[in-house]
Protein backbone atom coordinates (compact mmCIF):
# COMPACT_ATOMS: atom_id res chain seq x y z
CA UNK A 1 0.00 0.00 0.00
CA UNK A 2 1.44 3.26 -1.08
CA UNK A 3 1.79 6.18 1.26
CA UNK A 4 -1.11 8.62 1.39
CA UNK A 5 -0.40 11.55 -0.87
CA UNK A 6 -0.17 14.86 0.96
CA UNK A 7 -3.57 16.49 1.24
CA UNK A 8 -4.06 19.75 -0.51
CA UNK A 9 -6.81 21.48 1.44
CA UNK A 10 -8.79 24.07 -0.43
CA UNK A 11 -11.74 25.75 1.12
CA UNK A 12 -14.33 26.60 -1.44
CA UNK A 13 -18.05 26.69 -1.91
CA UNK A 14 -17.80 26.40 -5.67
CA UNK A 15 -17.83 22.77 -6.95
CA UNK A 16 -16.89 23.81 -10.49
CA UNK A 17 -13.73 25.65 -9.51
CA UNK A 18 -12.66 22.98 -7.03
CA UNK A 19 -14.19 19.73 -8.23
CA UNK A 20 -12.18 17.42 -6.04
CA UNK A 21 -14.29 18.01 -3.02
CA UNK A 22 -14.15 15.18 -0.55
CA UNK A 23 -16.69 16.22 2.00
CA UNK A 24 -18.84 19.15 2.68
CA UNK A 25 -19.64 19.60 6.31
CA UNK A 26 -21.46 22.75 7.02
CA UNK A 27 -21.84 23.46 10.68
CA UNK A 28 -25.25 25.04 10.26
CA UNK A 29 -26.89 22.04 8.58
CA UNK A 30 -25.28 19.16 10.39
CA UNK A 31 -26.00 19.59 14.06
CA UNK A 32 -24.47 16.19 14.73
CA UNK A 33 -21.04 17.63 13.92
CA UNK A 34 -21.17 19.98 16.83
CA UNK A 35 -22.96 18.06 19.48
CA UNK A 36 -22.46 19.32 22.94
CA UNK A 37 -22.58 17.38 26.12
CA UNK A 38 -25.66 18.79 27.70
CA UNK A 39 -26.80 18.01 31.15
CA UNK A 40 -30.25 16.50 31.38
CA UNK A 41 -32.39 16.28 34.49
CA UNK A 42 -35.55 14.36 35.31
CA UNK A 43 -38.70 16.26 34.33
CA UNK A 44 -40.30 15.11 37.55
CA UNK A 45 -39.59 16.62 40.00
CA UNK A 46 -37.27 19.29 38.53
CA UNK A 47 -39.52 20.90 35.91
CA UNK A 48 -42.96 19.99 37.21
CA UNK A 49 -42.30 21.28 40.72
CA UNK A 50 -41.06 24.57 39.24
CA UNK A 51 -44.20 24.83 37.12
CA UNK A 52 -46.41 24.29 40.16
CA UNK A 53 -44.48 26.96 42.09
CA UNK A 54 -44.79 29.37 39.16
CA UNK A 55 -48.54 28.77 39.07
CA UNK A 56 -48.77 29.42 42.80
CA UNK A 57 -46.79 32.66 42.48
CA UNK A 58 -49.07 33.91 39.70
CA UNK A 59 -52.21 33.00 41.68
CA UNK A 60 -50.91 34.68 44.83
CA UNK A 61 -49.85 37.82 42.96
CA UNK A 62 -53.25 38.03 41.26
CA UNK A 63 -55.06 37.42 44.54
CA UNK A 64 -53.12 40.22 46.22
CA UNK A 65 -53.91 42.53 43.30
CA UNK A 66 -57.58 41.50 43.49
CA UNK A 67 -57.71 42.32 47.20
CA UNK A 68 -56.02 45.70 46.83
CA UNK A 69 -57.47 46.98 43.55
CA UNK A 70 -61.09 46.91 42.50
CA UNK A 71 -62.04 46.41 38.87
CA UNK A 72 -63.62 49.60 37.52
CA UNK A 73 -67.39 49.84 37.16
CA UNK A 74 -69.07 52.97 35.90
CA UNK A 75 -72.77 53.77 35.50
CA UNK A 76 -75.01 51.54 33.43
CA UNK A 77 -74.42 51.69 29.65
CA UNK A 78 -76.21 54.62 28.09
CA UNK A 79 -76.08 54.99 24.29
CA UNK A 80 -77.31 58.57 24.57
CA UNK A 81 -74.51 59.76 26.80
CA UNK A 82 -71.09 59.59 25.17
CA UNK A 83 -68.22 59.94 27.63
CA UNK A 84 -65.48 62.26 26.48
CA UNK A 85 -63.08 60.72 25.65
CA UNK A 86 -64.55 57.30 24.86
CA UNK A 87 -61.65 54.90 25.14
CA UNK A 88 -61.09 51.31 24.09
CA UNK A 89 -59.29 48.88 26.46
CA UNK A 90 -55.63 49.78 27.00
CA UNK A 91 -54.21 47.24 24.52
CA UNK A 92 -56.16 48.92 21.70
CA UNK A 93 -55.31 52.48 22.74
CA UNK A 94 -52.22 52.42 20.53
CA UNK A 95 -54.55 51.88 17.56
CA UNK A 96 -56.95 54.52 18.83
CA UNK A 97 -54.04 56.94 19.14
CA UNK A 98 -53.16 56.20 15.49
CA UNK A 99 -56.75 57.11 14.58
CA UNK A 100 -55.88 60.63 15.69
CA UNK A 101 -53.30 60.95 12.90
CA UNK A 102 -54.44 58.70 10.07
CA UNK A 103 -57.68 58.11 8.19
CA UNK A 104 -59.71 55.34 9.88
CA UNK A 105 -59.11 52.83 7.11
CA UNK A 106 -55.35 53.22 7.57
CA UNK A 107 -55.25 53.23 11.39
CA UNK A 108 -58.06 50.77 12.00
CA UNK A 109 -57.58 48.28 9.20
CA UNK A 110 -54.41 48.65 7.13
CA UNK A 111 -51.91 49.03 9.97
CA UNK A 112 -53.22 46.19 12.19
CA UNK A 113 -53.41 43.88 9.17
CA UNK A 114 -49.84 44.80 8.22
CA UNK A 115 -48.64 44.12 11.75
CA UNK A 116 -50.31 40.69 11.88
CA UNK A 117 -48.97 39.75 8.43
CA UNK A 118 -45.49 40.95 9.39
CA UNK A 119 -45.60 38.85 12.57
CA UNK A 120 -46.81 35.72 10.76
CA UNK A 121 -44.13 35.82 8.06
CA UNK A 122 -41.24 36.31 10.50
CA UNK A 123 -40.06 32.66 10.55
CA UNK A 124 -40.46 32.33 6.78
CA UNK A 125 -38.55 35.46 5.79
CA UNK A 126 -34.99 34.53 4.93
CA UNK A 127 -33.45 37.58 6.54
CA UNK A 128 -34.72 36.50 9.95
CA UNK A 129 -32.95 33.17 9.63
CA UNK A 130 -29.64 34.34 8.22
CA UNK A 131 -29.08 37.87 9.48
CA UNK A 132 -25.92 38.47 11.48
CA UNK A 133 -25.01 41.60 13.42
CA UNK A 134 -26.08 44.55 11.28
CA UNK A 135 -22.74 46.30 10.87
CA UNK A 136 -20.56 43.19 10.74
CA UNK A 137 -20.49 43.11 6.94
CA UNK A 138 -21.03 46.80 6.68
CA UNK A 139 -20.96 48.15 3.17
CA UNK A 140 -21.37 51.78 2.25
CA UNK A 141 -24.28 50.97 -0.08
CA UNK A 142 -26.10 49.03 2.63
CA UNK A 143 -25.65 51.81 5.17
CA UNK A 144 -26.89 54.39 2.65
CA UNK A 145 -29.97 52.30 1.84
CA UNK A 146 -30.68 51.89 5.53
CA UNK A 147 -30.30 55.61 6.16
CA UNK A 148 -32.61 56.32 3.25
CA UNK A 149 -35.23 53.87 4.56
CA UNK A 150 -35.07 55.39 8.06
CA UNK A 151 -35.33 58.91 6.65
CA UNK A 152 -38.21 57.77 4.44
CA UNK A 153 -40.13 56.48 7.47
CA UNK A 154 -39.47 59.71 9.36
CA UNK A 155 -40.68 61.82 6.43
CA UNK A 156 -43.73 59.57 5.87
CA UNK A 157 -44.91 59.70 9.47
CA UNK A 158 -43.81 63.33 9.76
CA UNK A 159 -46.12 64.20 6.86
CA UNK A 160 -49.02 62.94 8.98
CA UNK A 161 -47.61 64.85 11.99
CA UNK A 162 -47.53 61.56 13.86
CA UNK A 163 -44.91 62.55 16.43
CA UNK A 164 -45.38 59.44 18.64
CA UNK A 165 -43.95 57.45 15.73
CA UNK A 166 -41.47 60.02 14.41
CA UNK A 167 -39.67 60.50 17.73
CA UNK A 168 -39.09 56.76 18.43
CA UNK A 169 -38.06 56.29 14.80
CA UNK A 170 -35.43 59.00 15.14
CA UNK A 171 -34.27 57.56 18.48
CA UNK A 172 -34.00 53.97 17.21
CA UNK A 173 -32.35 55.24 14.01
CA UNK A 174 -29.72 57.11 16.02
CA UNK A 175 -29.08 54.03 18.18
CA UNK A 176 -28.81 51.88 15.05
CA UNK A 177 -26.17 54.08 13.44
CA UNK A 178 -24.40 54.64 16.75
CA UNK A 179 -23.89 50.88 16.85
CA UNK A 180 -21.74 51.09 13.72
CA UNK A 181 -18.19 50.20 14.63
CA UNK A 182 -19.33 49.61 18.18
CA UNK A 183 -17.30 46.38 18.49
CA UNK A 184 -14.41 48.44 19.70
CA UNK A 185 -16.48 50.62 22.01
CA UNK A 186 -17.70 50.19 25.56
CA UNK A 187 -19.88 47.34 26.84
CA UNK A 188 -23.13 49.02 25.82
CA UNK A 189 -21.94 49.78 22.30
CA UNK A 190 -20.63 46.26 21.94
CA UNK A 191 -24.08 44.96 22.84
CA UNK A 192 -25.65 47.31 20.30
CA UNK A 193 -23.20 46.14 17.65
CA UNK A 194 -24.49 42.57 17.98
CA UNK A 195 -28.08 43.55 17.10
CA UNK A 196 -29.30 42.26 13.74
CA UNK A 197 -31.47 44.19 11.30
CA UNK A 198 -34.66 42.19 12.11
CA UNK A 199 -34.01 42.90 15.78
CA UNK A 200 -33.69 46.62 15.11
CA UNK A 201 -37.02 46.51 13.28
CA UNK A 202 -38.74 44.60 16.10
CA UNK A 203 -37.21 46.99 18.65
CA UNK A 204 -38.58 49.92 16.65
CA UNK A 205 -42.03 48.31 16.47
CA UNK A 206 -42.06 47.61 20.21
CA UNK A 207 -40.99 51.13 21.16
CA UNK A 208 -43.55 52.69 18.80
CA UNK A 209 -46.34 50.41 20.11
CA UNK A 210 -45.39 51.20 23.72
CA UNK A 211 -45.21 54.97 23.13
CA UNK A 212 -48.56 55.01 21.32
CA UNK A 213 -50.24 52.91 24.02
CA UNK A 214 -48.82 55.03 26.86
CA UNK A 215 -49.87 58.28 25.20
CA UNK A 216 -53.33 56.88 24.43
CA UNK A 217 -53.78 55.64 27.98
CA UNK A 218 -52.36 58.45 30.10
CA UNK A 219 -52.07 61.58 27.96
CA UNK A 220 -55.41 61.83 26.20
CA UNK A 221 -58.39 63.73 27.54
CA UNK A 222 -61.62 65.29 26.22
CA UNK A 223 -61.76 65.44 22.43
CA UNK A 224 -58.56 63.35 22.36
CA UNK A 225 -56.64 66.48 23.40
CA UNK A 226 -53.26 66.14 25.04
CA UNK A 227 -53.48 66.21 28.84
CA UNK A 228 -51.05 65.53 31.64
CA UNK A 229 -51.97 62.40 33.60
CA UNK A 230 -51.50 64.19 36.94
CA UNK A 231 -54.07 66.78 35.86
CA UNK A 232 -56.69 64.17 34.95
CA UNK A 233 -56.21 60.52 35.89
CA UNK A 234 -55.86 57.73 33.34
CA UNK A 235 -59.05 56.48 31.79
CA UNK A 236 -59.90 53.28 29.97
Amino acid sequence: MSATPPLDLVESGDPIATPRRVALVRPDIRPAVRTKDEKYVMTFPNLIVREVILFQIVVIALAVAAILLDAPLEGIANPLETPNPAKAPWYFLGLQELLHYFPPVVAGVLMPVLVVVALVVIPYARINLTAGPLWQSSRAAGAAALAAATAGLIVLFGAFRCWPIVVPTVAVGIAMFAARGGERGGAFRRTLAKVTLPEWIMLWFTVVAAVLTIIGTFFRGPGWSFVWPWVSGPQG
Binding site: P27, D28, P31, R34, K36, E38, K39, Y40, V41, M42, T43, F44, P45, N46, L47, I48, R50, E51, L54, F55, V58, L62, A63, A65, A66, L69, D70, A71, L73, E74, G75, I76, A77, N78, T82, P83, A86, K87, A88, P89, W90, F92, Q96, L99, P104, V105, G108, V109, V116, L119, V120, I122, P123, Y124, N128, L129, E199, M202, T206, G236
Partner: protein, 254 residues
Protein backbone atom coordinates in the same frame (compact mmCIF):
# COMPACT_ATOMS: atom_id res chain seq x y z
CA UNK B 1 -45.98 6.99 67.10
CA UNK B 2 -48.42 9.16 65.23
CA UNK B 3 -45.99 9.58 62.37
CA UNK B 4 -45.56 5.83 62.14
CA UNK B 5 -49.29 5.21 61.93
CA UNK B 6 -49.79 7.80 59.20
CA UNK B 7 -46.92 6.15 57.32
CA UNK B 8 -48.71 2.82 57.58
CA UNK B 9 -51.93 4.45 56.41
CA UNK B 10 -50.23 6.08 53.45
CA UNK B 11 -48.52 2.82 52.53
CA UNK B 12 -51.84 0.97 52.73
CA UNK B 13 -53.49 3.66 50.60
CA UNK B 14 -50.77 3.52 47.95
CA UNK B 15 -51.02 -0.27 47.86
CA UNK B 16 -54.79 -0.34 47.45
CA UNK B 17 -56.28 -1.54 44.18
CA UNK B 18 -58.22 1.70 43.62
CA UNK B 19 -55.13 3.89 44.07
CA UNK B 20 -53.07 1.65 41.80
CA UNK B 21 -55.74 1.88 39.13
CA UNK B 22 -55.39 5.67 39.10
CA UNK B 23 -51.68 6.13 39.76
CA UNK B 24 -49.88 3.29 38.10
CA UNK B 25 -46.37 4.07 39.22
CA UNK B 26 -44.95 3.79 42.71
CA UNK B 27 -43.52 6.57 44.85
CA UNK B 28 -41.37 8.85 42.67
CA UNK B 29 -38.19 8.24 44.64
CA UNK B 30 -36.26 6.44 41.92
CA UNK B 31 -35.45 7.68 38.43
CA UNK B 32 -37.44 4.75 37.05
CA UNK B 33 -40.57 5.87 38.85
CA UNK B 34 -39.87 9.52 38.04
CA UNK B 35 -39.87 8.63 34.34
CA UNK B 36 -43.07 6.68 34.87
CA UNK B 37 -44.69 9.83 36.30
CA UNK B 38 -44.24 11.33 32.85
CA UNK B 39 -44.70 8.16 30.78
CA UNK B 40 -47.85 6.94 32.46
CA UNK B 41 -49.60 10.28 32.71
CA UNK B 42 -50.93 12.94 30.42
CA UNK B 43 -47.58 14.71 31.01
CA UNK B 44 -45.97 12.77 28.16
CA UNK B 45 -47.99 14.88 25.75
CA UNK B 46 -46.43 17.98 27.24
CA UNK B 47 -43.04 17.04 28.64
CA UNK B 48 -40.34 14.54 27.81
CA UNK B 49 -39.03 12.34 30.62
CA UNK B 50 -35.84 14.36 30.81
CA UNK B 51 -35.25 18.00 30.03
CA UNK B 52 -32.09 19.97 29.38
CA UNK B 53 -31.00 21.46 32.67
CA UNK B 54 -30.32 24.90 31.25
CA UNK B 55 -33.95 25.24 30.10
CA UNK B 56 -34.91 25.49 33.77
CA UNK B 57 -32.95 28.72 34.19
CA UNK B 58 -34.88 31.96 34.52
CA UNK B 59 -33.02 33.67 31.68
CA UNK B 60 -33.85 30.86 29.30
CA UNK B 61 -37.54 31.75 28.94
CA UNK B 62 -38.31 34.10 31.85
CA UNK B 63 -41.24 31.67 32.30
CA UNK B 64 -43.39 34.05 30.24
CA UNK B 65 -45.31 31.32 28.43
CA UNK B 66 -45.91 29.67 31.80
CA UNK B 67 -47.22 32.92 33.26
CA UNK B 68 -49.60 33.27 30.31
CA UNK B 69 -50.81 29.69 30.78
CA UNK B 70 -51.24 30.22 34.53
CA UNK B 71 -53.35 33.30 33.76
CA UNK B 72 -55.46 31.27 31.32
CA UNK B 73 -56.12 28.65 34.01
CA UNK B 74 -57.04 31.31 36.58
CA UNK B 75 -59.32 32.94 34.01
CA UNK B 76 -61.11 29.67 33.27
CA UNK B 77 -61.61 28.94 36.97
CA UNK B 78 -62.84 32.43 37.91
CA UNK B 79 -64.77 32.73 34.65
CA UNK B 80 -66.82 29.60 35.33
CA UNK B 81 -67.65 30.89 38.82
CA UNK B 82 -68.64 34.29 37.40
CA UNK B 83 -70.95 32.59 34.89
CA UNK B 84 -73.06 31.32 37.81
CA UNK B 85 -73.95 34.91 38.69
CA UNK B 86 -74.27 36.47 35.26
CA UNK B 87 -77.16 36.98 32.85
CA UNK B 88 -76.23 38.27 29.37
CA UNK B 89 -79.23 40.56 29.08
CA UNK B 90 -79.94 44.27 29.47
CA UNK B 91 -80.14 45.61 32.16
CA UNK B 92 -79.66 42.45 34.25
CA UNK B 93 -75.99 42.19 33.23
CA UNK B 94 -75.20 45.48 34.96
CA UNK B 95 -77.31 44.55 38.00
CA UNK B 96 -75.32 41.34 38.27
CA UNK B 97 -72.16 43.45 38.61
CA UNK B 98 -73.79 45.21 41.54
CA UNK B 99 -74.90 41.86 42.95
CA UNK B 100 -71.32 40.62 42.74
CA UNK B 101 -70.19 43.72 44.57
CA UNK B 102 -72.77 43.84 47.34
CA UNK B 103 -74.53 40.48 47.61
CA UNK B 104 -72.32 37.60 46.47
CA UNK B 105 -69.70 36.41 48.97
CA UNK B 106 -66.28 37.36 47.60
CA UNK B 107 -68.02 38.41 44.39
CA UNK B 108 -65.85 41.49 44.02
CA UNK B 109 -62.73 39.43 44.64
CA UNK B 110 -63.80 37.04 41.92
CA UNK B 111 -64.41 39.80 39.40
CA UNK B 112 -61.17 41.59 40.33
CA UNK B 113 -59.17 38.39 39.95
CA UNK B 114 -60.73 37.73 36.54
CA UNK B 115 -60.01 41.24 35.35
CA UNK B 116 -56.40 41.48 36.55
CA UNK B 117 -55.62 38.01 35.24
CA UNK B 118 -56.99 39.09 31.85
CA UNK B 119 -54.78 42.18 31.78
CA UNK B 120 -51.75 40.19 32.90
CA UNK B 121 -52.39 37.55 30.24
CA UNK B 122 -52.46 40.12 27.42
CA UNK B 123 -49.25 41.65 28.75
CA UNK B 124 -47.36 38.42 29.42
CA UNK B 125 -48.38 36.93 26.07
CA UNK B 126 -46.97 39.98 24.30
CA UNK B 127 -43.75 39.79 26.33
CA UNK B 128 -43.59 36.05 25.57
CA UNK B 129 -43.70 36.87 21.86
CA UNK B 130 -40.90 39.42 22.22
CA UNK B 131 -38.81 36.94 24.21
CA UNK B 132 -39.22 34.27 21.52
CA UNK B 133 -38.32 36.78 18.81
CA UNK B 134 -35.17 38.11 20.46
CA UNK B 135 -34.05 34.59 21.32
CA UNK B 136 -34.64 33.67 17.66
CA UNK B 137 -36.69 30.71 18.83
CA UNK B 138 -38.95 30.98 15.76
CA UNK B 139 -36.29 29.38 13.57
CA UNK B 140 -36.76 25.94 12.00
CA UNK B 141 -38.22 23.61 13.14
CA UNK B 142 -40.32 26.02 15.18
CA UNK B 143 -41.70 28.22 12.36
CA UNK B 144 -45.25 26.94 12.52
CA UNK B 145 -45.40 27.13 16.29
CA UNK B 146 -44.57 30.83 16.00
CA UNK B 147 -47.58 31.23 13.70
CA UNK B 148 -49.79 29.33 16.16
CA UNK B 149 -48.46 31.68 18.83
CA UNK B 150 -49.43 34.77 16.81
CA UNK B 151 -52.95 33.34 16.41
CA UNK B 152 -53.02 32.67 20.16
CA UNK B 153 -52.04 36.29 20.84
CA UNK B 154 -54.93 37.45 18.65
CA UNK B 155 -57.28 35.00 20.39
CA UNK B 156 -56.14 36.40 23.74
CA UNK B 157 -56.87 39.96 22.59
CA UNK B 158 -60.30 38.94 21.27
CA UNK B 159 -61.13 37.11 24.50
CA UNK B 160 -60.18 40.12 26.54
CA UNK B 161 -62.08 42.43 24.23
CA UNK B 162 -65.32 40.38 24.16
CA UNK B 163 -65.17 40.17 27.96
CA UNK B 164 -64.81 43.94 28.15
CA UNK B 165 -68.44 44.44 27.08
CA UNK B 166 -70.01 42.03 29.56
CA UNK B 167 -70.29 44.34 32.66
CA UNK B 168 -72.51 46.57 30.48
CA UNK B 169 -71.35 49.80 32.09
CA UNK B 170 -70.37 53.00 30.29
CA UNK B 171 -66.73 51.88 30.07
CA UNK B 172 -67.74 48.60 28.42
CA UNK B 173 -70.32 50.07 26.08
CA UNK B 174 -68.16 52.87 24.72
CA UNK B 175 -64.97 50.85 24.67
CA UNK B 176 -66.65 48.32 22.40
CA UNK B 177 -68.39 51.04 20.37
CA UNK B 178 -65.04 52.68 19.62
CA UNK B 179 -63.45 49.36 18.63
CA UNK B 180 -66.27 48.11 16.44
CA UNK B 181 -66.48 51.49 14.71
CA UNK B 182 -62.91 50.85 13.58
CA UNK B 183 -63.97 47.51 12.07
CA UNK B 184 -66.58 49.39 10.05
CA UNK B 185 -63.82 51.10 8.09
CA UNK B 186 -62.56 47.92 6.49
CA UNK B 187 -63.30 48.01 2.78
CA UNK B 188 -66.07 45.76 1.36
CA UNK B 189 -66.56 43.52 4.37
CA UNK B 190 -66.28 46.02 7.22
CA UNK B 191 -69.96 46.91 7.60
CA UNK B 192 -71.06 43.30 7.21
CA UNK B 193 -68.55 41.96 9.71
CA UNK B 194 -69.62 44.61 12.20
CA UNK B 195 -73.28 43.75 11.70
CA UNK B 196 -72.52 40.06 12.19
CA UNK B 197 -70.50 40.75 15.33
CA UNK B 198 -73.03 43.08 16.94
CA UNK B 199 -76.24 41.49 15.68
CA UNK B 200 -77.33 44.97 14.60
CA UNK B 201 -76.00 48.35 13.66
CA UNK B 202 -75.24 49.55 17.18
CA UNK B 203 -73.96 47.95 20.38
CA UNK B 204 -77.15 46.54 21.89
CA UNK B 205 -78.64 43.57 23.73
CA UNK B 206 -77.89 41.39 20.71
CA UNK B 207 -74.25 42.43 20.80
CA UNK B 208 -74.10 41.59 24.50
CA UNK B 209 -75.44 38.09 23.86
CA UNK B 210 -73.09 37.51 20.93
CA UNK B 211 -70.06 38.75 22.85
CA UNK B 212 -71.11 36.53 25.77
CA UNK B 213 -71.28 33.42 23.59
CA UNK B 214 -67.98 34.29 21.92
CA UNK B 215 -66.36 35.03 25.27
CA UNK B 216 -67.61 31.96 27.14
CA UNK B 217 -67.78 29.28 24.44
CA UNK B 218 -66.30 29.95 21.01
CA UNK B 219 -63.07 31.72 21.89
CA UNK B 220 -62.15 29.65 24.99
CA UNK B 221 -62.61 26.43 23.00
CA UNK B 222 -60.50 27.83 20.17
CA UNK B 223 -57.87 29.01 22.65
CA UNK B 224 -57.67 25.63 24.39
CA UNK B 225 -57.34 23.74 21.11
CA UNK B 226 -54.61 26.05 19.82
CA UNK B 227 -52.91 26.05 23.20
CA UNK B 228 -52.77 22.24 23.15
CA UNK B 229 -51.15 22.31 19.72
CA UNK B 230 -48.78 25.08 20.81
CA UNK B 231 -47.55 23.36 23.97
CA UNK B 232 -47.42 19.90 22.39
CA UNK B 233 -45.30 21.25 19.54
CA UNK B 234 -42.84 22.79 21.96
CA UNK B 235 -41.99 19.27 23.08
CA UNK B 236 -42.03 17.86 19.54
CA UNK B 237 -39.61 20.57 18.42
CA UNK B 238 -37.09 19.72 21.10
CA UNK B 239 -38.19 21.70 24.12
CA UNK B 240 -38.09 25.38 24.87
CA UNK B 241 -35.47 27.32 22.97
CA UNK B 242 -33.50 29.83 24.98
CA UNK B 243 -31.09 32.54 23.91
CA UNK B 244 -28.81 31.68 20.98
CA UNK B 245 -25.43 30.61 22.26
CA UNK B 246 -21.99 31.43 21.01
CA UNK B 247 -19.83 28.36 20.63
CA UNK B 248 -16.07 28.31 21.06
CA UNK B 249 -15.27 29.20 17.47
CA UNK B 250 -17.68 32.10 17.48
CA UNK B 251 -20.35 30.47 15.38
CA UNK B 252 -23.84 30.21 16.67
CA UNK B 253 -25.08 26.87 17.92
CA UNK B 254 -28.71 26.30 17.20
Amino acid sequence: MKAASSLVLSRWLRGSAVYRSVVRHGVADTNRNRSLVVFENLFLHVHPVKVREKTLRLRHTYWLGGISLACALVLIATGILLMFYYHPSVPQAYRDMKELQFVVDNGMFLRNMHRWAAHLMVFSTFLHMLRVFFHRAYRPPRQFNWVVGVVLLIATLLLSYTGYLLPWDQLAFWGVSVGTNMAKEAPVLGEKVRFLLLGGNIVSENALLRFYVLHCVVLPVALLLLLSVHIWRVRKDGGVQGPPEDSADGEEVR
